[in-house]
Symmetry: C2
């Protein structure tokens, strides 16, 4: 990595739009921009200022633009940077990038701006990954989790604990240099306390992963029930209403795919199922088998009963079919408008939600119940939630290595064994924060980013 | 229109990207942004400065952003404006727009920013329309034409000529107030000279429309020839090569659709045709009839001959079939590798281009010949070219009204008749520049713009 290399990329969405922003970073970013800009002398202007002028290829004017200047280290990458805001035409973007390439910039790789921010110490790896998560957040909760992580989240706490542990590691290793002499630079009680403190810091993060994972990837949800219990009608009722609510804000349409819905800031991924019934038909029973499989894997099952055409006995029989499932189950009585009142009364005691999917009756109550059922605490500003499998694994490995340190301390093993386990814990913590990295790891992380970020 | 109304819109492309820019304009744009921004007090900061901070809904942080401030009249709209550069997630864009709406902004209509720039006198209507054309430019030449027009192009010249004409109109109308008295405030020779000067200014603009129209909308081009003369192979050879050339710059792919190609900065729209041959088959002859129709309408015909399987006599016979067409015709001898040398020698005198489409031989020479054939002069910076039918019609109508003024002056008709024709010319000129507008006209123009522009 050489920041004298100036990178350039389109940072905004492709296609026709009001404006487009082209971003440069590197020691010569301002100088290169200045070479193609006619207006003020950008190199003489202050950081965080905006300048109107034209971008030119020789005498040929490409566009009228606004250029933002960011002087190192006061930029996203900590390098000299500019942002050229031009008219949002793909032709103009192409021509401006071409003239910048001609004047010494090169095309940025995916995530290269954020990678530079990381390599220049502007953020650790956990924060850098959060930048990518933030851009790809599909719900407001996922946005909040990523933002917390990007703004430091657990990074800062872990970094200072890691520093303390490094200190102990050196002390323990210093003891080893004294060989046979019975010195103890690292007080064992203090070390034990530190290890326990780190584990206490890590444990809630490890447990938060279950929540973080569904926030990031959505909650697998199955709508199940007998044929004609109203599964599709319900799905449409849920989906359509949500769509109508969000469609007055531009730019939101693409968040929604056919079977995905955001409720209470959480993404629910609906999985289609075949209606459940007893059958002699081999093919149909295979389909039903698959439904049972899907119900097992789902985090949440909305189990639908047709109140108009089902007896209490039948309901009890159906209840047994999913008695052993570990998924959260929400029992929904559909066709409330045609149900017998005494039946509703009996079922009410069993924690049923009653709706009429076709007439959209009680859909909001159902939504509230769905959100309540998944029982995720609301993510608040500053909440540290781990949503990345990589982070989760590093934290689990750190915790295990620290367990071995504690065991070593209890069984009073020799310093060299303790030192090895501490080093192991430090290694996993270092991988997490990016203090220890490999090119492969970085490539793997940043290649998933957008170009221009 | 009330600029105390603060409008807000996403100004960059929709979807996931590195950054997105949300734009506000209106008297309270900075104040409203400041209400949701935590960082410096934006209202106290200078115009054209950038500020890092967070956008918040109450205590909830939505994103870390950079805010650009533009103070009236130093902005695109001449109003107070801000641009919020946030992470390019649709969720973040939606949340930020929501909190801005909550704090007093309203969603902008398509083109409303540019409409305000026009209504605030920042640009005339011709320039405002050029902003839209610039964003939608599909070729570099179309970009140049739109940019020239946006930067003033013929607007300034026309505006000052219109001022002069208004002056004469008042003088002539003043004469009318004196009724029977034989006064002449407007010197007839000076008026005649002015009218001629305006006509001389307008005439090249009117003639430029043919060129402007093909620059904006593409050149309708037909590849014709007998069956198996190699039409599809040629089209693929032309299209594929161009695609390969541009594909190393991101963001260009969408410029190209199956049958469109950019050569020498001009867009060529290829029209498929059925192979031309004598036939008794009724259906096939209908297809061939259509090909002839398309050849008539095309600006350019690439007429392909299979040199390997055609005699000179057959070529002469085919030549007759398009002898009466007004389209520009480029004769292309295909399968050069299998042609008899003496035949090539004879045809060379007839201004043929020789290629082998299948082996991509001489394709570049053919491209050069295509560009040369359409004989458009290169558009230079500052060239005034009319590409809008609306402008063209206004200019023609102005010219006609001025003709009537000249006729009136020659035949020494009364002042009131001359005044009427001058008013008519002024009306058309005013419609062109937007000095005279109707809500319908403005709606029609700006509704075609992007939201956010």
């Amino acid at each position: 990595m050489n920041s004298t290399d100036t990178i350039v990329a389109l940072a905004t969405g492709q296609g026709i739009s009001a404006i487009a922003v082209i971003r440069l970073s590197g020691t010569y970013a301002i100088a290169i921009t200045n070479k193609v800009f006619k207006g003020k002398d950008l190199e003489k202007e202050a950081t965080h200022t905006l300048h109107f002028g034209t971008i030119r290829d020789g005498e040929r004017i490409i566009d009228e633009v606004l250029v933002s200047i960011f002087k190192a280290p006061h930029s996203f990458t900590s390098e000299n940077s500019t942002e050229i805001s031009c008219h949002g035409s793909p032709v103009i973007v192409r021509e401006i990038i071409k003239v910048l390439l001609k004047n010494g910039a090169r095309l940025a790789e995916p995530g290269e701006f954020t990678k530079r921010a990381f390599l220049n110490g502007r953020m650790d790896l956990v924060q850098a990954e959060a930048v990518g998560d933030l851009i790809h957040a599909e719900t407001d909760t996922a946005r909040q989790v990523a933002l917390n992580q990007m703004r430091g989240g657990y990074s800062k706490g872990l970094a200072s604990l890691r520093e303390e542990l490094i200190h102990f590691a050196s002390l323990v290793e210093l003891e080893l240099d004294f060989g046979e002499e019975d010195v103890e630079f690292a007080k064992r009680d203090d070390l034990r306390n530190l290890v326990i403190r780190i584990q206490q810091f890590i444990e809630p993060l490890i447990s938060s992963f279950a929540q973080g994972n569904v926030i990031k990837n959505g909650i697998p949800t199955v709508i199940a029930g007998k044929p004609n219990s109203g599964k599709s009608t319900l799905l449409n009722a849920l989906l359509n209403e949500e769509r109508a609510i969000v469609s007055d804000i531009p730019g939101t349409t693409r968040d929604f795919i056919e079977d995905e819905m955001v409720l209470g800031g959480l993404s629910f991924r609906f999985i289609d199922t075949a209606g459940l019934r007893e059958t002699e038909d081999v093919v149909e029973s295979l389909g039903i088998e698959r439904t049972h499989e899907r119900m097992k894997k789902a985090s949440l099952i909305l189990y639908l009963y047709d109140l108009a055409n089902t007896t209490l006995e039948e309901i009890e029989a159906q209840e047994k079919t999913f008695a052993n499932l570990s998924s959260t189950i929400l029992r929904v009585g559909n066709k409330l408008d045609k149900a017998k009142p005494e039946m509703v009364e009996t079922l009410r005691k069993k924690d049923f939600i009653f709706i009429s999917a076709s007439s959209h009756q009680n859909i909001q109550a159902l939504k509230d119940a769905i959100v309540a059922k998944v029982m995720l605490q609301e993510v608040k500003q500053g909440d540290a939630i781990v949503s990345s499998l990589r982070h989760y694994q590093s934290l689990v490995q750190t915790h295990e290595a620290l367990d071995r340190v504690l065991q070593g301390l209890s069984s009073e093993v020799t310093g060299d064994l303790i030192a090895m386990d501490i080093r192991q814990a430090l290694h996993y913590l270092g991988e997490l924060s990016g203090a220890i990295t490999t090119d492969d790891l970085l490539d793997n992380i940043f290649s998933k980013f957008c170009i221009g970020k």
